[in-house]
Amino acid sequence: MTLAPDVKLALAVGCRLREVEGQPPVLLMPEAVLRLRGAGAEIVRRIGNGRTFAELLGELHAAFPEAGERLDRDTEEFVRRLHEKRIIEITA
């Protein structure tokens, strides 16, 4: 099932992005960390600032115009995985 464009994405309680100059971004959470790279970092950074799914896709397409339709599929897959791991909240 495709995520609705207007669902709101936010980092879950207790999850926060750590960005230090010269170091890869890291998502900190209870009992674990997620080291981010490339598109993963771009997605999490935007979710951390509060986005709807449509806004997230729009910004990613603008940032990676060469990615094409595959970007939608990969982004949704990643967002769903983050949600399954309780790293992000998805609300209507």
């Binding site: 960390v33 997620l34 080291r35 999490v44 995985r81």
Partner: protein
């Protein structure tokens, strides 16, 4: 040298609770030896510089330190993720708000049971009713919330009810841990050891609860060691993922390591944290597999479980370099099986102090080991059995499945 993920800060050994399964060492650090605020703050900076990402504040009861806010703030300034592991005693709503303002990310609140009498007996003091208030305060604020529940023979028969109780407190995560037998828990092993039937049933109950509560909370379950045939990957390997700092500043690869003979654990008061982690002889003693003897040396699981727990090997076999006797391949494995069989008999349990645990003199409790609980005592009087042990149950980290666009480290 890979940096540890976590630093576990035992800010104090002082604690208003006297839990019978506490895995602090029996010889607790006196208040006068505790590190100062400035020393902890400097340690946070050094930890971040080393590459550490998580700071766990524990004890004893970390709320016993009036400067906890300042230490949490120092961790946040250094960029660390901070986790408070607490009994809740000493918390107020104002103090919780202040800690969150200082940057606290995660609170782990322990419960000893769902029934006040039972919980307070295990804690050795009246605390359950207050913990319920603290849970409500935490739940009503935007902070990650884990409930910790320690299970043992006395409460495993009501595990399903205990899980329901913990879930009702509203955490995002529930950690159910069987007692690990170090420190005070080792002293009470005969009264805490579950039966095999309890252990097997508990696995089914937890799996069922995980499915039923999947959309509400995550459940992590630590199995009882003595019934296993493969040892735990203690601390993810000696000096591999976690660094413990005791109240006096001593750096240890696990809580219990202080018991091991012939090792000098350096202090952050005297040496830089980076040197301690990378170069100190104690941290390198059991790194890798050069130290291993058979059956570990040629075992294909040596990179999975690292030979188990060094402290448990020492406590049960007298040699820390032996395979953890929990391993079925250990020549000492029968010892573990016989201990579990002998000490899981219900006759070892006691309710001697259930009526009013706060009224019992610590000396009487300690002396009464054969007939009841050995409660944790902050300043043990002479004559109390001294520990060969301390704890090796922390530094918990979890794996996180690797998404297509990111990599996970833990």
């Amino acid at each position: 040298m890979k940096a540890p993920l976590s630093i576990i800060c035992e800010l104090t050994h002082r604690c208003p609770l006297r839990c019978v399964y506490c895995s602090n060492p029996l010889e607790l650090a006196a208040r006068s030896l505790e590190m100062t605020t400035a020393e902890w703050a400097a340690t946070m900076e050094q930890a971040a510089e080393l590459g550490i990402l998580h700071a766990h504040f524990t004890g004893g009861e970390p709320l016993a330190r009036p400067d906890l806010n300042a230490i949490v703030a120092a961790a946040r300034r250094a960029g660390l993720y901070s986790n408070l592991i607490t009994s809740g005693i000493g918390m107020t709503e104002a103090r919780l708000d202040s800690l969150l303002e200082a940057g606290l990310d995660h609170v782990q609140l322990s419960f000893q049971g769902r029934d006040e009498l039972q919980a307070d007996e295990i804690a050795g003091t009246r605390s359950h009713a207050y913990k319920l208030k603290v849970a409500e305060w935490i739940r009503s604020r935007r902070v990650a919330f884990t409930v910790n529940l320690v299970v043992h023979r006395r409460n495993l028969d009501e595990l399903a009810e205990l899980i329901a109780f913990c879930a009702s407190l509203g955490p995002q995560r529930l950690e159910i841990a069987n007692v690990q037998y170090y420190g005070w828990a080792l002293e009470n092993r005969a009264a805490l050891m579950p039966t095999r039937a309890q252990m097997e049933r508990s696995v089914e109950i937890v799996e069922s609860a995980k499915r039923a509560l999947a959309d509400k909370l995550r459940i992590d379950f630590v199995l009882p060691d003595y019934y296993g045939s493969q040892p735990k990957a203690c601390m993810g390997g000696w000096a591999s993922q976690t660094l413990i700092i005791d109240p006096a500043g001593r750096a240890l690869p696990c809580h219990a390591a202080g018991v091991l003979p012939g090792l000098k654990f350096d202090s952050v008061r005297e040496k830089p944290l980076r040197w301690i982690w990378t170069d100190s002889p104690a941290m390198n003693k059991y790194r890798g597999d050069d130290w291993m003897a058979e059956p570990c040396r040629s075992c294909e699981r040596k990179t999975v479980d690292f030979g188990g727990c060094r402290c448990q090997a020492y406590l049960l076999t007298g040699n820390a370099a032996n395979a953890d006797p929990v391993c079925a391949l250990s020549p000492h494995h029968e010892l573990v099986k016989s201990i579990a069989a002998a000490e899981s008999t219900p006759t070892c349990a006691t309710t001697a102090y259930a009526d009013d645990p706060t009224s019992i003199s610590p000396r009487a409790e300690a002396a009464g080991k054969s007939s009841g609980w050995v409660y944790r005592i902050f300043n043990p009087p002479p004559g109390i059995p001294k520990a060969d042990a301390a704890q090796a149950n922390a530094g918990r980290t979890e794996s996180c499945e690797q998404p297509a666009t990111a990599t996970t480290t833990h």
